[in-house]
Symmetry: C2
Subunit: 658 residues, 2 copies
């Protein structure tokens, strides 16, 4: 190819010894599959077995398709694919990491199936497992793991999507009958968007404000029977959310409770209980902390959605890159033969940095999935590990799902009009993944959570901060709390310390030096955080309304969190590389990590220039280097997407891929 | 509202005399409607009359919905809405500007209806009108204007989307029978994505390589009967393109011709003809120029799609802004009451610069629609006006449709999970507008066209440059041609001249000074163009393969075109403002033009810094000013979206808007 043999764009010094590598697809796939290769292989086999579901999604009437997806989920459950995270004594696989790997891989296929699996086993099953105790496990786990009992996770309400602590559904304890009475107190308190509710769920894990003897104890979770033999039970009203942009194989619904009674034992009582005669008891005294401890056990959902987003992006890239390597348009290099799209510089610019970022996010996801496994398998204990996990899960989910939205759109446009056909996957990918950015935590809210964790982490004070939710962070009171707990001057010292060589270091380091890249990312993160802290503090000190201070600093807060997560992503990629033996694979992946690091710096280069860490000359050199890296990655691009291991059947796209 | 009364963010000097304006929605709507207020009013009335089609789109089986859309288009035709651009002697309205205004306004509603109208009256009707002569007008116009005869526009082929000059369908003249014989020569030459083809079209305007006596004369257009009484005619094979991401009310299809014969008179012969005994004649000698002259007459389609994209963005903004002004989430300012989403700084940042850009694009669209009207009504003649129009149409279409994609996505995310319901419009808006970025000219290809026009324009040499298409620009040969014709040194002089005050000017001008903003935009445009020209020339001079030179400079080329079009957009906005009387409306629109200008500079601020036109201090001041402008626009935001005049029925969204 004409562009492959071109001389490198960057300065000769950085090029010493560079030889264009080749990629062994099989060995790279093995690396990406990681320790759960067998699990991923099982899911890929299942995806191919049930590949007809991709067409069913287009052709079946909604209710038929919903039933089809349910049946398919139950069939997959029988292969062990969906129960890997549950204890083996109930028929599960006893391996949390395996369950994440299985879920991520499932994202190569129809995403209604994925979300139905997430609802049944992740959300509903997760609530029973994590918030319940032995009696609940004995009663429900075996049947939910097999799919014999379908359930739903009824948290979100019309009035409260993100602010879960303010839910309006109330569960009042009736000591006379030893029952809880669940009531939807206002139209705003109606449960909404509950997956599995409109058609299939027999049970619900329902979140409500617990009231005992006239006293409120905050949000707790109750097992509530919703249907028997397909009929909705008395006191419960279920409406269908109707047609959605995508994911129409999932039956989302709205639930209203009108004095619905459940036995006292239906409170999922791992963290709190009510005695028969109506005394509230909890091992966690502080209500805020209790709430966030409960929510924190459900972090797996976020880890899974982030991974699913990244894998959906892989499907889009696999199609667009392969298409660009066979589609010719306009004669440029050797008329009259037209050139391949992927030989055009602009086309490389569109696709290859996204390819690099996908690899980077893949390795970052590997880290967070591993942390989840460590923490939830009890291999790593302690409050701090949990907080770190929750923050990392929130950040990776936000960046991973935004990346999916952006990548799928870019890939679709890069395939021209043909990308518009439903059979070419982009229609489903776009429509189905769209909600990933706002469900399991709205991305902007999640990044605020990350930022807040950082501000408090850095001050070294952990107690009683509501890490998982986000309520207090945006609440006026909490702005002050955060500020008090954050030693601003410490942050600023850290910013100075982080660049050991002083101001001269960036003059000497090569652009492709991983230490240079790390330091650039680290500097941005620390400097932004210090700035946020300073601005928050100044506003409060000046007597401004805390809410207004927050509103003004909010974009800065989110930028700081983004900088932090991008640094984690780079670290994950570089750490992975450091562990690889020398050879072509390492060289190829280094091209991608350089492309990820430099295209990320390029995109935000104004910031580094404004903060004295990037000269104009060097900034321009980075843009040239990004172009140069694109040209080097170009001949590897098809192998690099093949190594994602997306089964050919999942790509469809007969016109695009031939 | 807490944030409304806050003190302005910018320096006091720029704030002298500023008073927060109010917006008179009725009077602003009148301004936006412009000279075609009555036309837009008629379309709005029709949209409301047929508002049930929005639900039909979700509920009807595909073929039923296609028929429904066809019927609706015919009914709308009876109101005069769709025929405004055709000569009155055939039942049209005789006003090209009116037809654009009608089309743009139709984009508030179901977009299958819009595209069906575009296919029938814009593409098919436009081909008959612009490429045909009296005999074709007499034969077809009356029936196509009324919708009695449905037609299609068969240009695109499987193998050639953007590179139209290389089409593979051949029309051979048979002098013995005085007929053209149309043949699909290869599988790649099959017509594809032809709207109206799968089900409704009786006639096609078919583009094919004309061959007379063994000699090729390039692409010409022929009227070809496709169906009679609903049956496809012999020699013609039509396949259905099947389900698409969106626009499923339009019956796209694939057409193959196997020796299909049409009379000699069916050649649309405005620019070229074949005599009965087989002599090719044309008033335009140069085949390239002839081709692009023919294509150039079809520019109206691009103008219309750009306007439709901008108006689709208005629908999304109207929903998201109103929702953000009533949805509360988290208590920040005055606990325990939760705050309105639109009072959060980040939410303002998400939506309000997009609102400002929508206004800017609206006025830019007004300019290009007016130019179209002038040129095609013969009010303004000459090659130069046509070229300017074509370039402006290409640029506005690219920026307008990308803006639609981005705005709809951001608005959807800003509405959280509720934005995912089909009834809330975002599903249809996303799916239906998606293809706008790649049809009627792929946006990246269009921007290359714009850049090429600029390079040649600036050199002052116009002859024989294929302005409309894009083939030659990416072709190696043409790179050299462009370079030869472009006096690089002239460009560089212009860059120096464009900033009359020398290097000091930006130190003194206020950020809100329109002259400052104009000069910034202008400088970027000129400097980027000069850079492109220099890089192209250097590559060629160094003996590099022309295609490779182009590939390397391509992102720079596209950035230059983007800079040019953004400058045109700013000019359009500022020119509009200059013509307004002093008062609140002008003040309010000035906030938007400032927000557009400064957020555009902010987004690309690295470039200006790198090129010595923006100091770091000033760059940070711009970011602060953008935040300050967002706060000033915030209390006007609902009125500003109301003034778009999107009928309430077109917004739907019962949950979001109450």
């Amino acid at each position: 190819m004409a562009t492959d043999t071109s001389s490198p764009a960057s300065a000769p010094a950085t090029e010493t010894g560079y030889q264009q590598p080749t990629v062994d697809v099989g060995s790279l796939l093995e690396l990406l599959d990681g320790r759960y290769r067998d699990v991923r292989e099982l899911v890929r086999t299942n995806l191919v077995t049930y590949d007809a579901v991709l067409e069913d999604a287009e052709q079946m009437p909604t209710d038929d398709f919903r039933d089809r997806v349910r049946d398919l989920v139950v069939e997959m459950a029988a292969t062990g694919q969906t129960g890997m995270g549950f204890p083996s004594e109930y028929g599960g696989g006893g391996d949390i990491g395996a369950s994440v790997a299985a879920f991520e891989t499932l994202a190569f296929g129809d995403l209604s199936v994925l979300v139905k699996v997430g609802v049944q086993f992740g959300l509903f099953g997760g609530a029973i497992l994590q918030l319940g105790t032995r009696r609940h496990h004995d009663a429900y786990l075996r049947d939910l793991i097999s799919g014999r009992t379908m359930g739903c996770f009824a948290m979100t309400e019309v009035g409260h999507g993100s602010n879960v602590q303010a839910l309006g559904t109330v569960a009042t304890y009736d000591a006379e009958t030893a029952e809880f009475v669940l009531t939807t107190t206002t139209p705003e308190a109606r449960k909404d968007w509950i997956g599995n509710a409109a058609r299939h769920a027999e049970l619900g894990a329902v979140f409500a404000q617990l009231e005992v003897g006239g006293e409120r104890h905050g949000v707790h979770c109750f097992v509530v029977p919703l249907r028997r033999d397909g009929d909705v039970l008395p006191g419960i009203t279920i409406e269908d959310d109707g047609l959605k942009m995508g994911l129409n194989g999932v039956d989302n619904g709205r639930i209203t409770f009108d004095g619905v009674r459940v036995p006292r034992e239906n409170l999922l009582n791992r963290f709190a209980d009510v005695t028969e005669d109506g005394v509230y008891e909890s091992s966690i005294e502080n209500p805020n902390r209790r709430f966030f401890t409960m929510l924190g056990t459900l972090v797996q959902g976020r880890v899974c959605v982030g991974g699913a987003g990244i894998n959906a992006a892989k499907v889009a890239l696999a199609i667009a890159v392969r298409y660009a390597d066979r589609r010719r348009q306009f004669e440029a290099t050797n008329p009259p033969e037209e050139d391949l799209l992927l030989d055009y510089g602009q086309h490389q610019r569109r696709l290859l940095p996204l390819l690099a970022r996908t690899y980077a996010l893949h390795f970052a996801q590997e880290v967070v999935a591993d942390e989840l496994h460590q923490v939830f398998s009890g291999l790593e204990a302690g409050e701090e590990s949990r907080r770190r996990l929750e923050s990392r899960a929130a950040g990776t989910k936000a960046l991973g799902t935004w990346h999916a939205t952006r990548t799928i759109q870019e890939c679709r446009e890069a395939c021209g009009g043909q990308g518009y056909r439903a059979a070419n996957r982009f229609a489903a990918l776009k429509a189905d993944t769209d909600v990933f950015t706002t469900f399991e935590g709205d991305n902007t809210v999640l990044l605020q959570l990350v930022a807040k964790g950082l501000l408090t982490d850095y001050a070294g004070e952990f107690e009683d901060m509501d890490q998982f939710g986000t309520v207090r962070f945006v609440a006026g009171l909490a702005v002050e709390t955060v500020i008090e707990k954050t030693a601003v001057h410490k942050l600023i010292e850290r910013v100075r310390d982080v660049l050991p060589g002083g101001d001269e270091w960036d003059q000497e380091a090569g652009l492709l030096d991983p230490d240079y890249q790390r330091m650039m990312f680290r500097f941005r993160e620390e400097h932004m955080l210090a700035g946020v802290a300073r601005r928050l503090k100044r506003g409060i000190d000046q007597g401004m309304n805390a809410g207004e201070v927050f509103s003004r600093v909010q974009d800065h807060v989110i930028a700081a969190a983004n900088a932090h997560v991008e640094r984690l992503v780079l670290d994950a990629f570089l750490d992975k590389l450091a562990g690889l033996p020398d050879g072509d694979q390492k060289v190829a992946l280094s091209l991608l990590s350089d492309l990820f690091a430099l295209s990320t710096i390029e995109a935000d280069r104004a910031w580094w220039i404004e903060h004295g860490r990037l000269s104009v000359t060097r900034s321009k050199a980075i843009s040239r280097e990004v172009n140069g890296l694109c040209r080097k990655v170009r001949p590897l691009a098809v192998d690099l997407v093949d190594a994602f291991g997306v089964p050919r059947e999942m790509l469809r796209s007969p016109e695009l891929l031939g």
